[in-house]
Symmetry: C2
């Protein structure tokens, strides 16, 4: 956690530092991100940085936590419907909310993507050890529920497909944002529907 000195800072300065840091961690992995560049871009002295944060890690984790809070703000309303909604409809809404989040907070989204691309690094392992893949657990229970409701085939490997569904989220998000539209666009619903149709019925010609 940042030191109290950081939270005593005038709003404007604090935001400037967070913006500079977010830009850095969105552009570089944790290891390659540079404290020197962050302080240069935010116009503070190197020494000041260490008056505000324990170390580079401290700032990084703070940003990650902020990003996850903002993302949860988008996801929570749909997650609350988990018991009542049809599985595939819920999935479409969750994927849609995640893309919405990424469009409205591109830096936070890049931060998360950068972390997901750091598999095998010490920092990734540490974070995953702490959070124990909560997302996968969530989707696994969702899947199990859908099987019990008769919405989903019972012969699937639940953990594997839970894993898949999580990864597909970031895949479809990245594809949509890079190849279809960067801002809000009515092709979003269309793309999501076509994707969910695939998850439902596969690719085979009927």
């Amino acid at each position: 956690m940042p030191k109290t000195t950081f939270f005593n800072l005038p709003e404007e300065k604090r935001q400037a530092i967070l913006d500079a840091a977010l830009e850095e961690f969105a552009a570089y992995s944790y290891e390659q991100a540079s404290v020197n560049r962050i302080v240069a871009r935010s116009g503070i002295a190197k020494g000041s940085f260490y008056q505000y944060f324990e170390d580079k890690r401290d700032l990084y984790f703070y940003l990650l936590q902020q990003a996850s809070e903002v993302k949860m703000f988008y996801l929570a309303p749909h997650m609350a419907q988990a018991q009542t909604q049809n599985f595939f409809t819920l999935l479409r809404d969750l994927y849609g909310a995640a893309i919405q989040f990424a469009m409205e907070h591109p830096r936070y989204a890049e931060l998360g993507k950068r972390l997901m691309d750091s598999k095998g690094s010490a920092i990734y392992d540490e974070i995953m050890a702490a959070h124990a893949d909560e997302a996968i657990e969530f989707f696994a229970s969702l899947l199990q529920n859908a099987i019990d409701q008769g919405e989903v085939r019972a012969d699937i490997n639940v953990p594997m497909f839970a894993h898949l569904i999580v990864s597909l989220n970031t895949l479809i998000m990245a594809y949509y944002l890079e190849h279809i539209a960067r801002d809000y666009d009515d092709r979003l619903l269309e793309t999501l529907d076509s994707f969910i149709t695939f998850l439902r019925h596969g690719l085979v010609a009927s």
Copy 2:
């Protein structure tokens, strides 16, 4: 390309260097891999390294090229069947061959994975600019072919699903190797079949 001096080296020494380098680039991204560690591990002097290779990049590209040649050795027999095989069967064979490759050449597989996780880095962009996503082109034409044959629904976004099929390859590979079996195991065929069934018919209960 490595310099001729490198190829004049006694087989044993050359392999020792390649092994050390492969281990390094399998464990660290290109940027974080260390020439110092490579020379230390292979027992040669720093100066010698630069008698053998132009620079770190030179060695890295050489390893990547070797890895891709070995991988093509596994894939080529199946790719040759592209015109005659059923789309889904072909896909299963290709995914299977890729997993076989990863099991028999884990270091090469890690090297490739590490590269795929470097999206956004200069080296990744450079490699992708040079190879223009050949894999995606291949699967796109495969998909189009399958549509023409009536094997696959005609209403899909071909580039998007080509993209998806490529990414799913690395996904299913990583999942199988990390969560199911690290060596050859009869669960491979079972896992592949269940996965291909999903690609065909989706998750919905019939």
